[in-house]
Symmetry: D5
Subunit: 92 residues, 10 copies
């Protein structure tokens, strides 16, 4: 089941550089593990922004929320979720 997710990152101005670097490294590992598992099949950077659009492929709303809430950057992101359905013109 697919969802389009937009994540917009806003780190607090006063966060120390090392703390920011540590969170980003953990975030990257967390994201890549989920990508490899097939649950996070696509991630793109939005040109000009510290933001991404991603596709998630999960079993339920609850599973998606669990994944998103577990993101190390979760407290610093505005996230919006659009549930997707199969399109009748889709050739796949």
């Amino acid at each position: 089941m697919k969802y389009l997710v937009h994540m917009d990152v806003n780190l607090p101005a006063g966060m120390p550089a090392e703390e920011a670097a540590a969170i980003k490294a953990t975030e990257k590992a967390y994201s890549q593990e989920l990508q490899r598992s097939g649950k996070w099949p696509e991630i793109w950077r939005v040109v000009g922004e510290y933001a991404n659009y991603s596709i998630f492929d999960v079993e339920s709303n609850d599973e998606l929320h669990g994944i998103l809430q577990g993101l190390p950057l979760f407290p610093y992101m505005d996230i919006t979720v659009v549930p997707l359905a199969k399109h009748p013109s889709d050739v796949k």
Copy 2:
């Protein structure tokens, strides 16, 4: 080069049913040809709306505009385009 495209369809209230059916059939064929060519790799229905989110993979802004402007439903759609870049956490 990837772009996220949102298409929101608004057919005029007075359009005859056969005309609407004909436009939709042409649209479907046009879309599926582009999907098979690799230029329109993803299309999803937005749940609850007569709208889709799509990914396009083209050579340039001009090529993308040419494709979108050629959509049979183009005069009846509100389209927004978000240019995408490779994300540093992308494992692909």
Copy 3:
């Protein structure tokens, strides 16, 4: 799996009264059948508006889209869908 759905109805000004009455009657029957099936457990009128907030309980995004697209008033409604997850404070 729960979703909060907002439906805002806008019938065209020129629709004949009998046609409007017929669509509304079909809509009511369609809605009540789904309510009785357990897939549409809640429906409330928004005070002062020709709109409703509803809770749907379905197996997937695709099932929800199928139900909403099948609404007789679908061509005349603006629909927005919010996917819901279990809340950690929920006592049920």
Copy 4:
């Protein structure tokens, strides 16, 4: 009398972790007591957000405001309230 309430939580960046944990624990107890009393029959997490949609069932606008203002997280939430009426298609 039903109301749909949306609560969006924004804890200040600098709040100490123990203080945040204490407020959340008090909030949970307060919410669960109201759920058990029947005044707060439904609470759902919005997928991807630190927010909830809830249904309240109270006697009056004043009673609802008293409950919401008493939430331990009240100073840190943006709350919106939609009054609901019985829907003519409701089978209950």
Copy 5:
């Protein structure tokens, strides 16, 4: 129980002048009867607009929706409703 209600009127461009005059006359009678009953204690014109802000004083959300839905201009208005509670500084 008080509610602030905003009504914004948009008559269709093609409505015949007599039809418009008849609806407005019925609306005025309906409004004045409710004002005299105490259920619609205040109505003000918004300067420069074909719109009003009103205060309603009713027993429940359902009663308010019944009154608003019964307005002869209901099909031609955008209505928003804000539930009000007693203010702790109110001297009355």
Copy 6:
């Protein structure tokens, strides 16, 4: 001359509790004096928000601005003002 005024209060997160209590007490006294004078005939709490809708009855725009600017909470509020006129259906 009537105006509808919306006041939305946002106290800074770091304001000491005694300072907040002192400002609120001064605000209450200021408001109640104006209510008793007839210049601030109505004040209601917006359900679920630290905000109010009020009616002011003053001689001029300048008088209204003077009153609002004198509110002890003025530096911490977003205020919007809607000028009101007599409604042709008003029975008073």
Copy 7:
């Protein structure tokens, strides 16, 4: 007493050219009479739009609404009104 008024004109697509010309001529005469009376001291075209910003100088909210409602283009305009007060830095 001054007000800033924004008027945005939207003539219906199907209005006959002569009818449009007649309304505009009446509007111009009405506006110029009010300008000469001192009640409408300023009117400017918004660059690129069929819209204007104007300053009105009247005795009351009711007088302003009467003037605006009397505009021949009133049924075809979106009007917003901002009440103005004397600025403490004003040298006049």
Copy 8:
């Protein structure tokens, strides 16, 4: 003196194809004459939309409004104008 101008075209659904073609041809000639004169140095299509962003280089606000109001498509466009100044980092 430079201005950034956004033009969004909305032709009425019922406009006959020949009428639309005639207006577009006149628009093109009008635009190209102004481009050659140096007053309209840049025009770009917004990807996916029937809209353009343009740069105008004129002597005054009045001259710009005269040019825009003279566009054959003016009655069918939403136009927004942003006045531009020299940027301190500009190397030209």
Copy 9:
């Protein structure tokens, strides 16, 4: 050449009172000098807000930006600028 300018002032919560008073005094002197020069012919307070609407009368976009950027409160204001043209109904 006229422009309508809206200035919305937001002083940081932590600015010392003397610093705020000093900036406001400098701002007032700066504004009054420009008013006397004829370049800033009108300034009004927006009722209920720490904001003003002003008319500027300058030679060019560059001159206007220079004036606005020179305002002592410039770093603490949200400014929007609307270029104005002569209105065909203006009697002056």
Copy 10:
């Protein structure tokens, strides 16, 4: 390939003046080098704002993101990007 880019700068209130000056100097050098390379052919100040509109001319979305992300002011800017295509009326 052209893009219209809007950059809106918001330096934190507490940033020391020397730090701000140093970042701005680096930003200016970075911008001017890109302007001279032909990749950033236009930059204009938005009148009244600490913001610019720019035209970029690059090979791909990825190249544009790399340039924008490298801006010394990137962490302090809200950036929006509009992809542009050749306009059919363009005489160049």
